[in-house]
Amino acid sequence: MLNEKIITVDHLTKRFAAFTAVDAITFDVYKGEIFGFLGANGAGKTTAMRMLCGLSMPTSGKATVAGFDVYTQNEQIKKNIGYMSQKFSLYEDLTVKENMQLYGGIYGKSNQFIKDKTAFILEQLHLKDEANKLVGSLPLGWKQKLAFSVAIFHEPEIVFLDEPTGGVDPVTRREFWMMIYEAAANGITIFVTTHYMDEAEYCNRVSIMVDGKVEALDTPAMLKQQYQSPTMDDVFLKLARKATRSGD
């Protein structure tokens, strides 16, 4: 792994009136790593992620994403990141191909690029025969894999995945993580939130947020050692039990 920092976060804070959703978090993410961003519901993960994606202005603190400042350069940030949310994010009434053309288009890619990339992804996912089928007619697992491919269609430096495997069967989840590894091997940094602790084990490094603060950050192996726990599940429970905020 290269030691090049691609995301730097320094005392980043977001307040909504009297409520501090994200409380002075500090961490770095390195290029090409799979960074697990964990926390119970209401711990502030989504708010932190929205700030890094340029969707929400921080109250204070510093952060850069792909070398761009979150306060002043969110246009450039948006060009260099991909995003996939917990809600399924393709258009069900468009075909597989049309969805790819749309995403290529809104990232300003040329027709040639879109054509080549579409062919490549269809080949990779064995979806050639389904290219002109409506996305709504595909099984959920395929849709999820397709959504990931579309999120990195424009070859971003970082891809943010917000609980990408919610409601998917274990086999598909495994296949999905294979795709994540492949993307990481190609140099795309993965920033992923999840509720599945077995998935946390797949990450290079994991941070755990409790009540708006990053309580722990290390490799899964080190975390288990530090908290004297056999599994990540156990680590998470030990930390999350300290929370005073209720989930949403």
């Binding site: 994606c53 060009k79 949310s85 399924f88 258009y91 468009l94 290529g104 288009g105 809104i106 943010f160």
Partner: protein, 382 residues
């Protein structure tokens, strides 16, 4: 030359973004055939319903005649009533008593009584009387029918007196300007236009944006480099196109099927309709920023917009007769101004000089709504 090249590729990318998005919106509409059918069929159906079924004109009403004179004069008057397109003589009565019975059967709406000395009176005293008895359980119809009947009698009288060349007589001559036949179509074509444009643009734009919020796809758009304003504009484009088709079909139907002429400038009429379309689109955007779900968006569109449009635009009920507070409220209903403009341009045939005030009001509304809508859309992202 390098910076310029950079700029060119930047606008090229922006154009590609915009057209990819518009294409996607068109695909959404195209794939949803049922909605498309409703959107394009609605104006046609409304014009047909209003034009041929729901009309406040009274045609071929059944009447009864009690002719106590039974001479040449009365039978020619009765023949004239029967010949007019408003009346059909259903029953010939023989006594006063039968009148009430005829009304109670519900068959007739009006009874005409000609007294026994009708011809004599007309000849010798120049003063004959006709009695009209109307079923006023529906006061509007009763009023209309007695007016029509009076007109037919007057017509008849005119012809008789003209023959005799009286030295002097006072005649009241009424001319119905712009709509000499008092056709209802003149009134509702502008109304239907306002209703259809408002429904298609406002409701559909609001729903389509809220749907993306619900589906989570809006978030993806906002994370993309596409500017929020561009998302909003690209969403409105297909509905603007649909509305243009609807404007065309309404105008074609009214000219060719209902024979309502376009007396003023067609270009002005179309330009004003497109202005109103833009106002409706901005309203839709505003609603979408307030509504959390598609149902709420639809509810707001119907209750907060559609009802006032029908009630307060002057299309169904004359604004002049409303109490002061309602008259005030009617001023903020965009359809009221559009309705005035269309009526003036289409029916009266006046030019921009006569409707500049209304046009200015609509333009002001457009700028205000659009500014607020885009501002609210941006705030939501924070």
């Amino acid at each position: 030359m390098k910076p310029q090249q950079h700029n060119q590729s930047k606008t090229g990318a922006a154009r590609r973004q915009f057209f990819s998005f518009v294409k996607k919106e068109l695909l959404h509409i195209w794939r949803d055939k049922r909605t498309l059918f409703i959107l394009l069929g609605m104006p046609v159906v409304q014009i047909i319903i209003f034009g041929f079924a729901l009309t406040n004109e009274v045609k071929n009403s059944k009447i009864a005649v009690l002719d106590q004179s039974k001479d040449a004069a009365t039978s020619s008057l009765i023949a004239e009533l029967n010949a007019s397109r408003y009346f059909d003589v259903e029953e010939n009565l023989t006594s006063y008593k039968e009148i009430e019975a005829a009304f109670k059967k519900g068959k007739i709406k009006l009874a005409v009584v000609l007294p026994s000395q009708f011809s004599e009176d007309l000849k010798h005293t120049n003063k004959a009387s006709v009695q009209l008895i109307a079923d006023a359980s529906d006061p509007n119809v009763a009023n209309t029918l007695t007016n029509y009947a009076t007109a037919v009698v007057m017509d008849y009288q005119d012809r008789v007196t003209n023959k005799q060349r009286l030295p002097y007589s006072i005649q009241v001559e009424t001319r119905m300007l712009y709509n000499p036949q008092l056709k209802g179509a003149y009134n509702f074509v502008p109304g239907v236009m306002a209703m259809v444009l408002l429904l298609v643009c406002t409701m559909m734009t609001a729903i389509t944006i809220v749907r993306e919020k619900e589906m989570g796809t809006m978030e993806i758009m906002l994370v993309s480099p596409m500017r929020p304003q561009m998302v909003v504009i690209a969403k409105a484009v297909p509905y603007f196109l649909l509305s243009s088709i609807n404007i065309a079909s309404i105008l074609l139907l009214s000219v060719f099927a209902l024979e309502v002429p376009i007396n003023g400038s067609l270009v002005l009429l179309i330009a004003e309709s497109l202005l109103f379309t833009l106002v409706s689109l901005s309203l839709g955007l505003l609603i979408s920023s307030a509504a959390g779900s598609q149902q709420v968006a639809m509810f707001i569109s119907l209750v907060a917009l559609f009802l006032p449009t029908v009630m307060l635009s002057g299309f169904m009920f004359p604004i002049e007769n409303m109490p002061f507070p309602l008259r005030m409220v009617s001023n903020i209903v965009p359809a009221k101004w559009f309705y005035i403009i269309v009526r003036s341009v289409m029916i009266k045939g006046v030019g921009l000089a006569a409707v500049w005030k209304e046009t200015l009001i609509l333009t002001g509304m457009l700028l205000f709504l659009l500014t607020v809508a885009i501002k609210r859309f941006k705030i939501r992202l924070q």
